[in-house]
């Protein structure tokens, strides 16, 4: 298939055996998610050719590795962002940025220097030495450096995990800008579910070297038996479109046929966003509450009840949107019994707050 990235790998990885066979689309951000040591970094390094593990790797129509061929790293059209920025200390920021660009073939050039430095907000740094940059700035330079090598595929190995909270908040908007402005597919390794919810379009779930799930983000997140959906801190992530923005800073969103109100400052009608609804922010009422401060009260149907522990349960709710992904409500078992809730019942979901995860 010409429009997919295919990765099939088998091999021993210290404590366990890696055995995956997966295909991800050649567009958008795909997150490889799993606990530390589940093999996700090994997969990424194998795609880059930095590790050699038996298997097959194809990007579109190009075969990077199979039984007979192994294309060395420097001949693979990829960009790689390591956990630490790893800038070349003996070169200036500008020389770092152009290191890969100078080595790319002229007919491959599709990313321009000026565009990248503006997009990443590093134009004012180019004449400095890497030693004088903050952590967030370094990582932005290393992303720019990878992109300027004119890759067909960008690989990122936990690019945010070495940064502190502030640097992370500083850098996340740039990721979103990249996503909105570039057509380069990104494979992104992380163990932070927050980053997945905010950035990923597709999700590959891994555990101990094996594939647990793979597909569009909201489907994998909410699949009934996925290890992610039965978490206490589950949040549904849904695509939405801004219908209108009222003067009192309330935006009316359209989620595939349902209206949702959110507090938002700058929003334009027609913009697409993604919303995050945490299970802890959803409560259930049997009849429509007539006097409530909640902005969002939606008719819903219970499609499943999963026990979380002795005290709490997670309720899967169909709020009538035409999506595979239901939202969830986390309630106590006592309330579950008091309201005598059961599958198939029609209820009202009260959504206390909706957060905007990213603008798309």
């Amino acid at each position: 298939m010409a429009d997919r990235i295919e990765i099939a790998l088998k091999g021993d990885l210290g404590a366990f055996h890696l055995d995956v066979d997966l295909a991800v689309p050649m567009h958008g951000i795909t997150a490889l998610f799993g606990p530390s040591g589940c093999g996700k970094t090994s997969i990424l390094r194998s795609v880059a050719g930095l590790n050699r593990m038996p298997g097959r790797i194809a990007v579109g129509s190009e075969i990077w590795q199979d039984d007979r061929h192994f294309v060395p790293t420097h001949k693979r059209s990829l960009g790689y962002v390591f956990q630490e920025a790893s800038l070349f200390a003996h070169l200036s920021v500008r020389q770092n940025l152009t290191y890969g660009e100078r080595r790319a073939r002229a007919d491959e050039k599709h990313v321009r220097f000026d565009d990248i430095v503006n997009l990443l907000g590093i134009a004012h740094l180019v004449d400095r030495s890497p030693a004088n940059l903050s952590g967030g700035e370094r990582q932005r330079v290393s992303i720019g450096r990878a992109l300027l090598s004119q890759p067909r595929l960008l690989l990122m190995d936990e690019p945010l995990s070495a940064l502190d909270r502030m640097a992370k908040d500083e850098i996340l908007p740039y990721f979103e800008a990249l996503h909105a402005n570039l057509r380069i597919p990104i494979l992104f390794v992380t163990h932070d579910i927050g980053e997945v919810e905010r950035l990923a379009d597709h999700l590959v779930l891994l555990r101990e070297g094996r594939l647990v799930g793979s597909g569009p983000l909201n489907e994998v997140l909410s699949a009934p038996h996925s290890p992610l959906s039965a978490r206490r801190d589950f949040a549904a992530v849904l695509p939405a479109r801004v219908k209108r923005h009222d003067p009192d800073s309330i935006a009316v969103l359209d989620i595939v046929g349902r209206e949702l109100l959110v507090v938002a400052k700058d929003m334009k009608a027609g913009e697409t966003v993604r919303v995050r609804i945490a299970a802890s922010d959803v409560s259930i009422a049997k009849s429509r509450p007539d006097a409530t401060s909640m902005l969002n009260v939606l008719p819903a149907r219970i499609i499943g009840i999963d026990a979380l522990d002795d005290a709490e349960a997670s309720i899967r709710l169909d709020i009538g949107v035409d999506l595979e992904a239901p939202i969830r409500a986390r309630i106590t078992r006592r309330s579950l019994e008091a309201l005598s809730l059961s599958e198939g019942q029609d209820v009202f979901a009260q959504i206390k707050s909706v957060s905007l995860a990213a603008s798309r």
Partner: protein, 182 residues
């Protein structure tokens, strides 16, 4: 194995090292086989022998710091360069070598200093022939033995000043390149 052989001169007494090199370069061995090509009967007691002996005895002092600086760099910078389309040779020249400059400088200084100060090996191989294999450190020894203190003073002070200037210059250079490296 190679590292062990290279490091051997660090622990071997200079006279032992010198003795073996002398034998190896003598008419019964290498000197006898290859000497005639250069119109010589043997390599022993010649300037060429001093060069060979100095290289062998000073090599570990150069190799260690250079090796350390390549090891300290780790594989990461080279992996980064590989993902940026640099071929193995390109990676070595544009990334590994520049990052190893402080180690290369230190190695050069230590190697040079050790060679200038070498005594035992040189005496064994060179034999102290004036105009051919007489070196500074042996000359000073000769002057002291014959109680010519004035000449010994002049040469020693000259060596002291020279060594000081060389080491100062190189450490300044290393600091300059070091500042860019961190």
């Amino acid at each position: 194995m190679v590292a062990t052989i290279v490091a051997l001169p660090l622990v071997l007494p200079p006279t032992v090292l010198g003795f073996y090199i002398l034998v190896a370069l003598g008419p019964q061995a290498l000197g006898g086989w290859f000497g005639p090509w250069f119109g010589m009967r043997t390599f022993a007691f010649s300037f060429e022998a001093l060069v060979v002996g100095s290289v062998i005895s000073s090599l570990p002092f150069m190799v260690q710091p250079i090796r350390n600086s390549f090891e300290a760099m780790g594989r990461r910078p080279l992996e980064v360069a590989a993902t940026l389309r640099a071929s193995p040779w390109d990676r070595f020249v544009t990334v590994a070598l520049p990052l190893a400059i402080p180690g290369l400088l230190t190695g050069a200084v230590l190697g040079f200093a050790h060679t200038v100060g070498e005594f035992g090996v040189i005496l064994m191989i060179g034999g102290n022939i004036p105009g051919e294999t007489k070196v500074l450190s042996i000359a000073i020894y000769d002057f002291v033995e014959t109680l010519r203190w004035r000449e010994a003073h002049i040469l020693s002070a000259g060596m002291l000043a020279f060594s000081f200037v060389v080491i100062l210059a190189v450490s300044l250079l290393a600091r300059r390149s070091g500042r860019r490296a961190f």
